[in-house]
């Protein structure tokens, strides 16, 4: 039983984090809170990848004469790219939220939906 828990603990934590992030994305009406959720959702996946790369007794993947095993560097590389994608998406999302605040006056999804039902014909 111990073996089962320890052997998979990282993977279960990633699932838990993913569910927490996903919950914020779909259940929270605040647009910024949703982005916080997206960030947790994405980093959960990153944790999954990095956990794949770890090898028992491995050292960091930098060539070193005393190293016996190295950890798998591929997941590290992929996640570096994914982190960049994630921060790019976040930046665009914040820009959109700022514009939404400017033109709707709120960043709460419910209030925006009410505003859209009664169009004011607002233009730039």
């Amino acid at each position: 039983m111990d073996e089962l828990i320890l052997g998979k603990y990282n993977y279960w934590v990633y699932v838990a984090l993913m569910m927490i992030g996903f919950y914020a994305v779909i259940a929270k009406p605040n647009l910024i809170k949703k982005i916080i959720g997206v960030n947790i959702f994405q980093t959960a996946v990153f944790l999954f990848y990095i956990s794949i790369g770890k090898v028992e007794g491995g050292t960091a993947p930098i060539v070193w004469d005393q190293a016996v095993h190295y950890d798998n560097p591929i997941p590290h590389v992929l996640i570096l790219t994914a982190i960049v994608v994630s921060v790019s998406t976040t930046a665009v999302a914040f820009a959109l939220i700022i514009k939404i605040k400017e033109r709707f006056g709120t960043i709460e999804e419910d209030q925006i939906r009410d505003l859209r039902r009664t169009p004011t014909g607002e233009e730039t």
Binding site: I62, L80, V84, A91, F94, A95, I98
Partner: protein, 146 residues
């Protein structure tokens, strides 16, 4: 007010060191952790720090919008250009071994050096752009005090 002066002086002293560190990180990605992206972020952050302390007007005077706009493109073009150069020299796109150096290791080394510079430039320029566009409100260039 006195506290403000101290803060500004410390920032003024720190920014060049942060930038030096950023360059070190960009250049030394091949032997230790770091590389173009991380160095670029730190370089960008040094300007962001400056802008937070001295206000975005002053910050933008240091790195005007046209400069960051051009540099964002230039960084990617350096990267793509090195790739194209390898193609034109008769090998595949981004095959550094085709670069005209005697030792293929040296070619790889310089090729990677080149693309890391490209990545660092684009990342730093874009980070600065994103920060200023996000933090800057209205025409007046109101300062955000950190």
């Amino acid at each position: 007010m006195g506290e403000n002066i101290i803060r500004r002086t410390i920032t003024r002293l720190m920014v060049p060191f942060i930038q030096l560190f950023a360059l070190y990180v960009i250049v030394h990605g091949d032997s230790g952790p770091g590389g173009g992206f991380q160095g670029g972020v730190i370089l960008g952050a040094s300007f962001i720090l400056y802008a937070i302390v001295f206000g975005s007007e002053a910050g933008r005077r240091r790195v005007p919008a046209p400069v960051t706009d051009v540099l964002s493109s230039v960084g990617v073009l350096i990267y793509a250009g090195i790739g194209l150069l390898c193609l034109l020299l008769g090998s595949a796109f981004l095959d550094y071994r085709a670069l005209p150096f005697k030792d293929p290791h040296l070619a790889g080394h310089y090729g990677i050096f080149g693309i890391e510079i490209g990545v660092g430039l684009t990342v730093a320029a874009v980070m600065v752009t994103i920060f200023f566009e996000t933090a800057h409100r209205g025409e007046g260039g109101e300062t955000r005090d950190g």
